[in-house]
């Protein structure tokens, strides 16, 4: 059983890294989002190997949906198909690569060289129940922080993404005779 898990882990690890690299290699935006989704699915399954089924499933579902939305955004904003019309959309490639390799070396060296302590305790019988009890009990502060943060995100994202409307142009009471536009419109502006 252990050998099977080892083989599965290394297969998933290779897939997660390979498709992660592929995200920044392919020309097509749709393929880039698919590659990222596969990388996330691989990590989600790796979480499920260490018995984190609930969190692993959440990661897979959320990321697949997110990548679907991201693909639509990419097509919407790019205005053309980079797979048919390849072009370079990167800057500072050399320094970015050097920094990424340096970060990997430091992190990997820390992971290998640090004498990690032995495991302390055993997992609960039902991990999902234990997570729910923790969130509704001693870890309620995390829940109380996450909820308003997500609500604030909804409001902030809408405010940022909304176009200038009549209230922006003519004030809260809509009584301003001349709209406050950054650039005046019409003839002779």
């Amino acid at each position: 059983m252990s050998v099977v898990i080892d083989v599965l882990f290394w297969f998933l690890a290779a897939a997660a890294i390979f498709f992660g690299i592929l995200v920044f290699k392919v020309d097509s935006m749709a393929r880039a989002t698919y590659a990222l989704a596969i990388s996330f699915v691989a990590v989600g399954v790796m979480l499920m190997i260490v018995n984190l089924e609930f969190v692993g499933i959440i990661t897979i579902f959320m990321m697949v949906m997110e990548m679907a939305i991201m693909g639509i955004y990419m097509v919407m904003f790019m205005g053309m198909n980079p797979a048919l019309m390849p072009m370079s959309m990167v800057h500072n490639r050399r320094w970015s690569g050097a920094l990424a390799i340096g970060t990997f070396i430091v992190l990997a060296a820390g992971a290998v060289l640090i004498p990690w302590p032995a495991r302390d305790g055993v997992p609960a019988l039902d991990l999902t129940v234990s997570l729910g009890r923790a969130l509704m009990g001693p870890k309620i502060l995390a829940m109380l922080t996450i909820s308003p943060a997500l609500f604030a995100t909804i409001v902030a994202a809408l405010v940022i993404a909304n176009p200038r409307g009549r209230y922006d142009r003519r004030g809260d009471d809509l009584k301003k005779r001349t709209p406050a536009d950054p650039t005046r419109g019409g003839i002779g502006r």
Binding site: F9, A13, A16, I17, G20, V23, F24, M29, L36, S39, F40, L47, V50, L52, F54, V55, I58, M62, E66, M70, Y73, F77, M78, M89, H91, W95, S96, G97, L99, A100, I101, T103, F104, L107, A108, A111, V112, W116, R119, D120, G121, P123, A124, S130, L131, A134, L135, K139, A142, I146, A149, L150, T153, I154, A156, A157, L158, I160, A161, P163
Partner: protein, 100 residues
């Protein structure tokens, strides 16, 4: 499958994401880099949880990171929409107004 092996894999995923976040010009591609970095963080937290301390705290931390990803995605899409509306472009190089 050891803690060290999982952490090295997580570091590799994080480094690939870092390269993307630093080198890409399109806002949505930068978001992909950030997501990949958080992907590595999630894997590392899962490994720490399983190999060091399998208490519910680790699971709660993973949920907090997933929330951070959600917030990043929503705000990133908002910023991309705003940039596209105001500048007709979603490239970071056309939004350097505040650079020193």
């Amino acid at each position: 499958m050891t803690l060290q092996a999982v952490l090295v894999v997580a570091a590799a995923i994080f480094a690939v994401g870092l390269y993307g976040a630093l080198s890409q010009q399109v806002v949505v591609m930068i978001m992909m880099g950030l997501e990949l970095m958080l992907n590595g963080v999630i894997l590392a937290i899962g490994a720490f949880w399983w190999f060091l301390s399998p208490a519910p705290d680790g699971q709660v931390l993973v949920l907090v990171v997933i929330t951070a990803m959600t917030v990043e995605m929503a705000m990133g899409f908002g910023v991309a929409t705003l940039m596209h509306r105001s500048r007709g472009s979603d490239m970071t190089d056309s939004a350097t107004d505040l650079s020193g």
